[in-house]
Symmetry: C2
Subunit: 602 residues, 2 copies
């Protein structure tokens, strides 16, 4: 079996860098210890090896599709849903009292990394089911919880999130799906939703859609949106009956072809019932719980696909003979045997780039997940801080892996030469698959508006202050080692630059020019997330250095040396970008804001 | 019909910026004038509209494939080959005496831009036929010229270039295809070639392969490679008979699916004859003529696919309602009607990015082609200078459109939101199609070694000196306008930075550490080509400014204002990157060169 991720690296981040076992001292997670975490991760790997990785290519070659009113997906989807139900992973992070396992999110994200690296078309089916069930548990009535979540957690019924509509796209304020009260506590739902992942197939008995809709007479915009449970089939005694949810089609996509993307029509015959979840007109706020989780999931999937691509290209680079090294004098010895690809500097650069991106991204995602756990189960007085940190990191943890994961896979594909473009090797699939990640669950543009327009300024910059303190702590720890001091200094400069750049931008907001403040949000996302990944790399390198210095090594010496080397790579090849991006961000000219009387792009 | 390129922009570059009509004063091109160029371009557009663009999607949906020993391609390939033969375009740039039209390369590249933007899977068939015929004309015997080139120029026979072998990939020194003299002046050819574009199909009567092979006893490495004409069918009286060239398969690819990519086996039954082209063991040198042309062709194709993607995303952005502008106070008015995508700053940023990349790339390609024409037909005393300039620009003109064209299309796809990932819109095909460009005809790594390792140092830096003078001339011209002075100053700084960075790197070479000198060649490529595009943009903006100031406008005022605006965009969002890249290039640490005793990437 080909490597598609590294358990060693995952354990290093979880145990050595984040000390995830600290969570076992908290009441919520007290039944766990390091060993039980490891057993869980190992069994996830065994399962991914056996069931998920082998179907990766099959699912690409026989895409999910719509036929005779049905959506056809690979049968492994059914198997995985049932198995996930049986082993409890759908509700693994839920409370015991609702049938969950109170597993830390950090470990659940580790498991998701393993399975998404093995096969990125499968995880979403159970992931959305988990997210939908969680939403019902948190905001739904006891009746809704009892009616729907047990079967969802068993994998018999699937869950989805239904936001996008044909005419609205990213603009949720424009959704028009309507909800009319019918008197019995339910609502009549009418409208169309598109791009509904996992929205229908033959392997689950029912689909529980979490639908954003507008109750008749609700105010315009996002303030008039409510959230509903709308099952595909409603319960009628012991049976299920149609709830007038029609599947109108399945979008055919460039990648992630095994994951169906449906078009659903609710209430075409005026017989579609929905039940309100959470308060009226507060639907978006409730949905954001699920969306935030889904954003982390997308980030994990992106980082994991890129990780699989990295290991495929690493293996190829080690095996493929190709040319000769350029000798110091610039001459190549044509008589000598060919060397392998991996011995060429440009190939090593592309391998290290992939490693720097994928391991940095995974570290940031697990860091965010640890904050998530601490925000829910940590000491009461720290919870808000960790919540703010999670809020601040989420758009970056979604976007960096999605955007830079693409760059990473591009480098992996390039290592294969012409074969990288051919379907007989896996890189072209990974290249196609990852492209959706910067569109899912809020495009990069949306995430960037969230980061700059909301997160960095929220609570008068509280989250930014917390993050700065975390970064300073990392800088201090690194500074204990002479040969890390230079990198600690570089991160310090980057952190100061971030502050200065942000101050520069905030002036526009303070002067009342919000459009200008936000115009280059996507550039700011690139800028700030590069610094965040630099922070994670310095943290990893410091932990590795400590292991080398103390001799307390859980893995090979080479593993730790590689970590430090890759950090140096990131600081040479990636971190410097921030100064160019800062120049763009602070540039005096405004070139992308519409000026009514100009003909630019007209 | 959707726009897929801009005739206005093409004419602006050809006539206003490059004054291509200057070539009509040269003996070689004296039968042409501006009007005849325009007629030719217009008819190419009409043909592309009618024949090429309509088959773009069909060719993607029904890929070229191998079946029962045959390669099946879309029938439009046959039509285009015949039409190209009839209208003379296969040999359009050849001398009159061999049946050509002595058309300037610059105009031929303009025509290629139109057709590749319409359909990037077709142009290669005729393009390689033209390149192969040209190679035979330049280096082959009179007999070979008379036997093969007339039918190739008529499009009845197709041509290919056969370099890559399964075991050798990018390392041409390792090719093993053998050539054994048989006494009658021909050679017995034996070996396998892969990734042979346009290598076989049912719509041409014969395929004339230009094959690199090793004559028995030839020295190892590239110094032992010779070039042969190896037809699929050899001439036997008035008939064609098998020449033992077997098509073993057609590679299935992620994109450019309409363009077949064959696996050929020569001489499996020891009955494959080839005829030497050019001197023994000088095959690579001869082949480089064709490869240099092919590199420009790849650059043009990349720039053109990205151009088509730009216009598709521009149209979508103009038509698609989506959300509302953020008002100065940061509030959105949910009651207001939706605005169109194009009015959002981030969408405008992505549109301008595409425009900056695609128009900059096209300008560089046409600039290189003008140097090509001047090197062949210009005043005798300047020819070497123009040849050196062409040599220097070629790797950048191939690589910048291939690499940044991908970035450009990525931005275009993003503008479509989720639809960008779906097969019902054209962006996902363009996204897949362009990915091959940085692999074709020497990967980006190979082009970068060529640029830094060969071109910038050749003839003691003569080409670099010529280029610097050209850049200085552009800076001077721009400095005539007050509001262009700041950009002229920025390009001047960039040009100085290039000199300093190069001096820094050259120290390694002078100290004998050639591997270190060349290790970051790909980063240098990114760095130097960004400056080259900055040069082209300042040149375009200066011409536009002159038109606006003098009132001597061939197009709308908006067109010229857009040019200046896009130049400003490039100088704000793209050019600053060079300083980060310079920091990486001058960074003291060496991290990608193999150190034998280290475990990095082991």
């Amino acid at each position: 079996m080909a490597d598609y991720m590294s358990m060693d690296n995952l354990r290093f981040i979880l145990h050595e860098m984040l000390d995830v076992s600290q969570l076992c001292e908290l009441e919520r997670h007290k039944d766990y210890d390091k060993e039980s975490f490891d057993i869980l991760l190992d069994s996830a790997k065994t399962y991914a090896d056996k069931v998920m990785f082998p179907t990766l290519k099959e699912m690409d070659e026989a895409p999910a599709h719509y036929k005779d009113g049905k959506v056809i997906v690979h049968p492994v989807v059914g198997q995985v849903m049932r198995d996930a139900g049986e082993n409890g992973s759908i509700g693994s992070t839920f409370d015991y009292e609702v049938g969950g396992m109170q597993l830390p999110n950090t470990i659940a994200v580790g498991v998701a990394h393993i399975s998404s690296a093995a096969n990125n078309s499968i995880g979403g089916y159970a992931g959305l089911t988990s997210g939908a069930a969680h939403l019902i548990i948190n905001f739904g009535s006891q009746d809704l919880i009892e009616t729907y979540t047990p079967k969802m957690m068993k994998g018999e019924w699937a869950g989805t999130m239904c936001l996008t509509e044909p005419q609205a796209g990213s603009s949720l304020s424009d959704i028009t799906t309507s909800a009319t009260p019918v008197g019995d506590g339910s609502y009549r739902i009418k409208g169309q939703k598109i791009f509904i992942s996992g929205g229908d197939h033959e392997h689950c008995d029912n689909f529980i859609h979490l639908v954003l809709a507008r109750i008749d007479g609700a105010p315009a915009g996002t303030k008039g949106i409510s959230l509903f449970v709308v099952p595909k089939k409603r319960i009628s005694g012991d049976d299920l009956e149609s709830n007038d949810v029609l599947t109108a089609g399945d979008f055919q996509k460039m990648g992630q072809k095994g994951y169906c993307t449906t078009h659903l029509v609710f209430g075409e015959q005026d017989d579609c019932k929905g039940w309100l979840v959470g308060p009226q007109n507060k639907g978006l706020k409730c949905m954001f719980q699920m969306m935030n989780g889904a954003r982390i999931d997308v980030g994990v999937t992106a980082a994991s696909v890129a990780t699989a691509a990295y290991y495929a290209s690493l293996q190829y680079a080690k095996e493929r003979p190709q040319g000769r090294r350029i000798l110091a004098n610039g001459v190549k010895n044509a008589e000598a045997e060919q060397t392998t690809l991996i011995n060429h500097p440009d190939i090593r650069r592309m391998l290290l780039l992939q490693r720097a991106i994928t391991e940095g991204a995974l570290a940031l995602l697990l860091q965010a997940s640890l904050y998530h756990d601490l925000s829910e189960a940590g000491p009461e007085e720290d919870r808000e801080k960790y919540h703010d940190l999670l809020e601040l990191l989420t758009p970056m943890a979604k976007t960096y892996p999605s955007e830079m994961g693409r760059t990473s896979i591009n480098a992996g594909l390039q290592i294969f030469g012409g074969y990288g473009f051919c379907t007989e090797f896996p890189l072209e699939q990974y290249y196609r698959d990852i492209r959706i990640m910067s569109l899912y669950e809020g495009t990069t543009g949306i995430q960037s508006l969230d980061l700059l327009g909301r997160k960095v300024t929220m609570k008068h910059g509280a989250a930014m202050k917390h993050l700065t303190l975390e970064v300073i702590e990392t800088i201090k720890a690194a500074s204990n080692y002479d040969d890390l001091k230079v990198y600690a200094g570089q991160l310090k400069n980057a952190s100061k630059d971030l502050e200065a750049t942000l101050m520069h931008l905030l002036k526009f907001a303070m002067e009342g020019d919000h459009e200008r403040y936000i115009a280059d949000a996507t550039v700011f996302m690139d800028y700030m997330s590069t610094i965040a990944i630099g922070w994670q790399w310095l943290k990893m390198a410091t932990v590795a250095k400590t292991a080398l210095v103390t001799g307390n090594m859980k893995r090979s010496e080479g593993f730790y040396e590689n970590k430090i080397h890759t950090m140096r790579f990131f600081f040479k090849y990636e971190l410097p970008k921030i100064y160019s991006l800062a120049e763009t961000l602070k540039h005096p000219e405004s070139l992308t804001i519409l000026e009514e009387n100009k003909t630019v792009l007209a």
